[in-house]
Amino acid sequence: MKTTIVPLGPQHPVLPEPLSFDLVLDNERVIDAVPSIGFIHRGLELLAPKRDFEEYVMIAERVCGICSFMHGMGYSSAVESVLALPVPRRARQLRVILAELSRVHSHLLWLGLAADAFGFENLFMQTWRLREEVLDMFEETTGGRVIFNIVKVGGMRKDIEDATLSRISSRLTAMKPQLKEITDIFLNDYTVKHRLSGLAVLPEAEARELGVVGPMLRASGVVSDQRLGNPMYEGLRWEAAVEKDGDCHARCRVRVKEIFQSIDIIAQAAGAMAADGIAAKIASAPNGEAFYRAEQPRGEAIYYVRGNGTRMLERFRLRTPTFANVPAVVKLLKGTELADVPTIILTIDPCISCMER
C-alpha cells in the first residue's frame, strides 16, 4: 500500500491559528495523523512568578483574543479562592453577563469559521456581520473589542450602568430573528447537513475516556457543564445543551442552542442586578493553592494558582479546553477523507493560542 504524507498547516486558509498535522494518506483516506504544536508558544506561565499577582490579570487576559475575558475572570476567581475573598454580587453578575456575551461572540465566530471550512463563504460573512454587533456591545461597555481590561482580582475595574445593560439585552433580543435565520441554515440546510452529519462520530464512552470537554462532550450525550453548580450562576434558570449523536452536526446544534441560551441568561441577569459595589479590597497576598474551573465557550478551562505569601505567585497553570480536545482530533482523523479534515479540526473549535500559552 503506497502512502503519501501531506502536511496540513501550520498555515492553512481554514485554520484561525497555526496548528500542524502530518497526514498519512492512502489515496484520499487518512490513515494516521501526527500533530505538531508549539508555533505560538509564548511561555506566559513563566511570567507568573515575575509579576505582581494583581498585574498578572493583564497577561492572563492576553493569552487568547477570543477567550480573553474568561481567562481574566478564571484567573481572578482562582486567586480570590486562595485569598478567600468574597466578591460583591454585582461584580459577579457583571462577570456573568460579559462571560455569556463572550460566549455568544465566540460561537458566532465559530459558526462563521465552520461555514468557511466546508466552503460556504456567504454564510461565513453573514454570521460575522452579526458578530460585529456583539463586538460593538463590548466596545460600548468595556472600551475594547477584544481585550477588555475590565476584570481584576476582587471584582471589576469599572461599573456598567443598569441602563446600558438593559439596552444591550434588548439589542440582543432584537438580534434573535436574524440569528434564527442564519442558524436555521446550519441546522436544516441540505448541503450543510450532507457535509456535517455522520462525520467524526465520537461515542459517549470514548468521549469520556479521551477526556474531551465542552461542546464535544455535550454533543456525545454527557451532561457536563462547569456553569452547573457554579455559585456565580445561582438564581439563573438555564439548561445544559446536550445532543446524542456525537457527530459534527450535533456539535453544531449544541453551539447554536448555547447562543440562544446565553442571550436568555443575559436578559435574566440584566433584569436583576444587585447594587452592592463592584470590587472587594485585597488585604493580603495569596498563600495556598486552589483549582478553579470555568466553562469557556470551548469547554472546561482549569486554572491552578499557588501562592507562597509574597506578591508574586509561585505557579499559575492554565489548562485550556483545546489542550484537552486535541488528542481526540488525532483519533477522529483516522479513516476520514482528506476533504473533511479541515471540518474535523474545526469541530473542536481550536484556539491554539490558548492551548500553547
Binding site: 504544536i37 508549539g38 508558544h41 511561555g43 506561565e45 513563566l46 512568578p49 479562592s81 478567600a84 469520556r208 475516556e209 479521551l210 477526556g211 474531551v212 457536563s224 452547573l228 453548580g229 493553592e289 486552589a290 483549582f291 474551573r293 472546561e300 482549569i302 491552578y304 499557588r306 509561585e314 505557579r315 497553570r317 489548562r319 489542550f323 484537552a324 486535541v326 488528542p327 481526540a328 488525532v330 483519533k331 500553547e356
Partner: protein, 131 residues
Amino acid sequence: MTMDIALIEAAALPERVKGLRAAGSRLAVISAVALPVAAAGEAPAVELTYSFDKDGALSHLRLTAAPGQKVPSVSGDYFSAFLYENEIREQFGVEFEGLVLDFKGTLYKTAVRVPFAVAAPVKKPVPGANS
C-alpha cells in the same frame, strides 16, 4: 477551599489510575510545580498533581518526583495524558516511562531547555537561623 488530594508514591500511580478509569473518572489535568531548590542551577524536585473529574467533583493524586526519577506514564489508560506528559517533560525535565506518543523533546522547541526547571525558585534562608 478543601481539596481532595491523596499523596502517593510514583510506583503506586498505575494501579490507582486503573482504578479511577474503571470507576469512570475523566482525566482533567496533570499539573507540575517545581519545588524550591537549595541553590540556583540545581535540578528541582517536581510535584505532579493528577486531577480527575467524576460527576463534577475534582479529586487529585499528588506525587513528588525527585530529580532524575522516572515516573510511569498513564497514557496507556488515558490517551490524552500523552500531551500533558510531553509538555511536562519539555518544561520541567521529568522523564515518563511508557509514553504512547513520544515527541522526544520536539513539542515546543524552546530556546532554553526545561525553562521551568531552570527558573525554579531558590529556597530563602529561614530568618533567625544562624549558619
